[in-house]
Amino acid sequence: MADDIMLSLEGLAKNFGGLAVIDGVSFRVPRGGRTALIGPNGAGKTTLFNLMSGVYPLDRGSITLDGARIDGLPVRRRIACGLSRSFQNIRLMAHLSVIENVMLGQHSQIAGLRQMFAPAQGRRGAPARVMAEERLRAAGVDCDPDAPVSGLPYGTRKRIEVVRALMSKPKLLMLDEPAAGLNPRETAELSAFLKGAAAEGLTLLVVEHDMAFVRGLCEHTIVLNFGRGIYDGPTAGVQDDAAVREAYLGTRGPPAREAGHAA
């Protein structure tokens, strides 16, 4: 039935202590679509990503990826189901080189102990390494693949993280603020690169504060506030929605209420 649905969340809930950080979130992400997930700080966007990728266990609800329930799977299994992600604060392995970080993204593709103990990252011309180098070039990352990542510029590291997430051949790529800290040229390049990936069948779910980037990339937007979905529709309609405006800008309340706050 749900051939056109890539990801379906039903009634997701997560409490930290007594605080309901995610409080009954349900939405669907269409196959091959480019969907944005936005909301004010603390709305629960990153927590939602952590629930989907399995970093946090779920309190309630279900996650269905491409027709299969994944919420019961341990973290390491979910990437093999086709769910890959990047992180809000770049989380590349500081002591690994560029190529090693990218090749770590291939880990879920390894079949059996023989590949696990086959020589990997060092050898030039090894198919896995060649593929990783090609992906880096395709994403416009122009640096020595054997350089340690820790010394590279922010924008380059940000893109390496996206490439790493793509190495597992995901069906759904979740990006957590991919454009944060990029300059306008880099942002435009990233947007074009992601559009190209989506054109090849990849489904995108993007958390981003840069609304120009969101409008340029995503046709569909979900807005989250205080752990609840408050908008789910075309990106073009977001800024005219009353609930969204209230979430970002606050209410124009009656004077009596403001006086009450001040007291």
Binding site: A94, Q121, G122
Partner: protein, 291 residues
């Protein structure tokens, strides 16, 4: 070679294998402060089997490795339930338990120790040390090595990337156990005598220092650390009992000068021939101007 030199080379070989045992777990971010416990299990396994009539020394060695690997595998589960410094203390406690059990077991000689009938000469030790070193170097170039280094840097992200973090940690404890068992068995067969007091907490601390001072980022680290720790105290012998003071000061200096260890990833890269082959001309030019 004089008897003195032979003794140093033998201890160096045993310590080197021991250091690689600790290095494998350290490379994945788990510090094992119970190395002596694992080495003792290997040494006593070899001693018991040798006394039981496994006359050929070479047969007791793989058996001792298997027993110690099993110990590493089994102890990994309770130890890995603790995190950070508590995990380190758990490994330390494990070694103390091993030592206590050995001291109190009459059939193992108690505090008197055990004689080991079969003798393994220096070439066997050197060959084993070289093989252990090559094995770990190889391991670090595989996907397995990449995965454990990833766990060292960020467990959460390694898991998200599909690495089975827990099973990898158990695997490194098991492999580390096998190598520690090898070092213990070689110790037993070379010195023909084992006693529980040798496998004390100071040994556990020292072997961890070999690895940390040598550096955990590349497989060169344990070699550098073991050389430093085995040879420097001997070179300092001329200083009489002051040598321990000088040695301690040298360790402090090393930690200040090279907090990441003697051999870091960056240093290994700079020294590798591959780096020179593709060195950009800018470096050569800088070299000319900078002298």
């Amino acid at each position: 070679m004089s008897g003195y030199a032979q003794g140093i080379v033998a201890i160096f070989c045993i310590n080197l294998i021991f250091a690689y045992a600790i290095f494998i777990t350290a490379a994945s971010g788990q510090l094992n402060l119970g190395g002596a416990g694992f080495q003792a299990i290997g040494a006593y396994s070899a001693a018991v089997l040798s006394n039981a009539g496994w006359t050929a020394g070479w047969a007791t060695v793989p058996a001792a490795m298997a027993v110690t690997a099993l110990a590493g595998f089994l102890i990994a589960f309770p130890v890995l339930r603790a995190r950070g410094v508590y995990m380190v203390l758990a490994t330390f406690a494990f070694a103390e338990v091993v030592s206590g059990v050995l001291l109190r077991t009459k059939s193992l000689g108690g505090a008197i120790g055990m004689v080991v009938p079969d003798y393994l000469a220096l070439p066997a030790l050197a060959g084993s040390a070289a093989a252990a070193m090559l094995f770990v170097f190889f391991l670090m170039t595989t996907r397995f090595g990449l995965a454990i280094r990833a766990i060292h840097d960020d467990e959460t992200v390694a898991g998200v990337m599909g690495v089975g973090v827990r099973s990898m940690q158990v695997a490194v404890f098991t492999l580390g156990g096998a190598l520690a068992g090898l070092s213990g068995a070689l110790y037993a067969h070379h010195f023909s005598f084992v006693e529980a007091q040798y496998f004390n907490s100071q040994l556990s601390i020292f072997v961890l220092l070999f690895v940390l001072i040598g550096g955990t980022q590349t497989a060169w680290g344990p070699l550098a650390g073991t050389l430093f720790f085995t040879l420097l105290p001997e070179l300092l012998r001329v200083g009489g009992s002051w040598r321990f003071v000088v040695f301690g000061a040298a360790i402090v200096v090393m930690m200040i000068v090279r907090p990441q260890g003697m051999i870091t990833r960056a240093l290994a890269d700079r020294l590798s021939p591959r780096h020179w082959r593709k060195a950009p001309p800018a470096i050569a030019a800088r070299g000319r101007h900078g002298g």
